[in-house]
């Protein structure tokens, strides 16, 4: 299994690139990374710089995507907003993945009452409309970027847990696990060194799709005024200003939404592509 690692990986990458939609998704994701990394170099203005003479200016040569209701350059704010989206996506999904992997692994490995308790808790949390839960908690705590990331993570791990448990249920009966156990390996070693690496591919898929979901949730929260608080620019809160000026400034609504759309689409296509590349059954017969 290990020896084939490199050629397997190359085959995997080949398959990934072969699908044009997946490639497009990958390009979007990588560009977004570069955009947030190079934000100070790319943004033509300081995102907080107020230009009183140019309030709600339409897109033009001076301001590529126009200005907002206090005269800030929308394009620059969107470039910096990409940082927020990226950060929320990764921290929230990172947290959800860690919780989901650990609880799912424990449930799938130990079975019995451990599994019962964990999985019933998962069922229970899945009953709540997660947006209700998130809204309630965000409103109770101060809405801040850290709170949002943590809450989105805390309400998003259940799917991962189910996934990892299912993988563990089949993997724990496999020969290499039995071999490790008969050699006297400790439980933790079997879980993390032997089983977990084999259970990770589907987790990677769900994490990629999860980033898209987290970015959407953050923007919806910011749009409702319960997310990233101004003056910190986020795509969602630029859209909030768009709603307030809906009849005069279409550019405030159009561009940030388009950025969200492209980003989320990119992550989804990439995730779907990874899944297809990993699943031999879905591979096209050539």
């Amino acid at each position: 299994m290990r020896g084939d690692g490199i050629s397997n990986f190359r085959e995997f990458v080949d398959r990934l690139i072969a699908n044009r939609l997946t490639l497009a998704g990958g390009v979007v994701v990588v560009s977004l990374f570069l955009l947030s990394l190079l934000a100070p170099q790319i943004a033509p203005y300081d995102p907080d710089e107020v230009d009183v003479k140019n309030i709600l200016a339409a897109p033009g040569r001076q301001h590529l995507c126009g200005t907002d209701d206090v005269g800030r350059d929308v394009f620059s704010r969107m470039v910096y907003g990409a940082r927020i989206s990226l950060k929320v996506g990764f921290v929230a999904v990172g947290l959800a993945t860690i919780i989901g992997v650990v609880l799912g692994a424990l449930a799938g490995f130990y079975r019995g009452w451990v599994e019962n308790v964990i999985m019933r808790f998962v069922d229970l949390l899945l009953c709540f409309p997660s947006f209700f839960l998130i809204l309630a908690v965000v409103a109770i705590l101060e809405p801040s970027i850290w709170n949002i990331m943590i809450i989105i993570g805390l309400t998003g791990w259940m799917g991962v847990a189910r996934l990892v448990r299912a993988e563990f249920l089949t993997l724990r009966e496999r020969d290499f696990v039995i071999a490790a156990r008969s050699l006297g390996a400790a439980d933790l070693r079997i879980i993390f060194v032997h089983i977990l690496p084999n259970a990770l591919p589907p987790v990677l898929v769900s994490a990629t799709l999860g980033v898209a979901g987290a970015i959407l949730t953050e923007s919806a929260l910011s749009f409702l005024g319960l997310g990233v608080q101004p003056p910190t620019p986020s795509w969602g809160n630029i859209l909030m200003a768009g709603k307030d000026n809906i009849e005069i400034a279409w550019w405030l609504s159009l561009y940030p939404g388009l950025s969200i759309l492209i980003t989320v689409l990119g992550y989804n296509l990439l995730g779907e592509g990874i899944q297809a590349a990993l699943d031999p059954r879905l591979r096209t017969r050539s």
């Binding site: 609504s253 989320v264 989804n268």
Partner: protein, 327 residues
């Protein structure tokens, strides 16, 4: 079937209890109590008045007693009174708004299934063709588009620029004077945009699931057999494969309930639709604890019911499920 149903209902009881515990814990994470809000509005309120408010709401009791009292009333569907100035009963508030949200969600689910199932089937039978790719991009676009953004854009286009559709509320000003048919048409006109938007967003889930199921089924031995005995391709696909691929899709019904209810917060706030979602948002903003708790509990109970419904329809279409659970 009755045994199956009873077993399912019994299994719901511990879930219901769990739901109430989680709702209660979430609301009591709050560092600022609702009485702080009220006294902030009236800075002259004395300490004594503050204490009275706390006692009135039962907030001075220890947590477990508060929970017990709340739970005892909950059994009688008494969620307490709203903290808002109108002091309405929470259950009345919810009862007023729930039908609207349910109506919208049922209609949009219906539209989703109507469009997504054919898309899923056709893109599976025509895997990797142009049709498959175009619909894949289309449903992913729907999934990736922030609903609230599309809502904004369509409000600008249809409401402000073209003035074709109403963009706020579910009834026109002169609703009461309209005839019965006029009333229905009026509500329908108000619901067009919200319905189309929420259905667009939900297409991806069902159609991709349908596609995956169909791809799985087409590879089964019995399909090979059907083809081998010379059946026409259309019979193989629409009679043998479709029926089997359709069954698991029923479970999606139950799974999509929480998402739909959660999503209603967003478009109900944007389109000013007086449903559960809007109520929840407003009560969250004003820290109206009893309404928030009521909303959380009812939202979760609806999900449970959705799951129950999905389980039952699954048992209806697939006898194997019934037998396994009764045996």
């Amino acid at each position: 079937m009755i045994v199956f149903l009873l077993k399912r209902l019994m299994a719901m009881i511990p879930m219901l209890l769990g739901i109430t515990v989680i709702s209660f814990v979430v609301i009591h994470l709050a560092p600022g109590s609702p009485t702080d809000m009220e006294t902030m509005m009236m800075p002259k309120a004395s300490l004594e008045a503050k204490a009275r408010l706390r006692a009135l709401y039962g907030l001075d009791q220890p947590l477990h007693i508060q929970y017990w009292n709340w739970l005892r009333r909950l059994v009688k569907f008494d969620f307490g009174d709203s903290f808002a100035p109108d002091r309405k009963k929470v259950i009345d508030k919810i009862a007023e708004r729930l039908p609207i949200t349910i109506l919208i969600n049922v209609l949009s689910l219906f539209m989703i299934f109507l469009v997504a199932i054919p898309i899923g089937v056709l893109s599976a039978t025509h895997q990797n063709t142009l049709f498959d790719k175009v619909t894949t991009v289309f449903v992913f676009l729907g999934f990736a588009t922030p609903t609230f953004w599309l809502a904004l854009l369509s409000m600008i286009l249809f409401g402000v620029d073209l003035q074709l559709l109403p963009i706020s509320g579910i009834k026109s000003m002169g609703y009461e004077e309209l005839s019965a048919i006029g009333k229905v048409l009026d509500v329908a006109l108000h619901l067009i945009l919200p319905l189309l938007l929420s259905a667009f967003g939900g297409l991806a889930g069902v159609s991709r699931y349908m596609r995956a199921n169909m791809l799985e089924v087409i590879r089964q031995d019995y399909i090979v057999t059907a083809r081998a005995k010379g059946l026409r391709e259309s019979v193989v696909i629409y009679k043998h494969a479709l029926r089997n691929a359709l069954m698991p899709v029923v479970t999606i019904l139950g799974l999509s309930v929480p998402g739909l209810i959660g999503g209603s917060v967003i478009f109900e706030s944007i389109f000013a639709i007086p449903g559960m979602g809007q109520m929840f948002y407003q009560s969250v903003m004003s820290r109206d604890y009893p309404v928030v708790m009521g909303g959380l509990v009812i939202g979760a109970v609806l999900t449970l019911l959705g799951n129950l419904l999905a389980d039952m329809s699954y048992a209806l279409v697939d006898p194997r499920v019934r037998v396994r659970h009764e045996g």
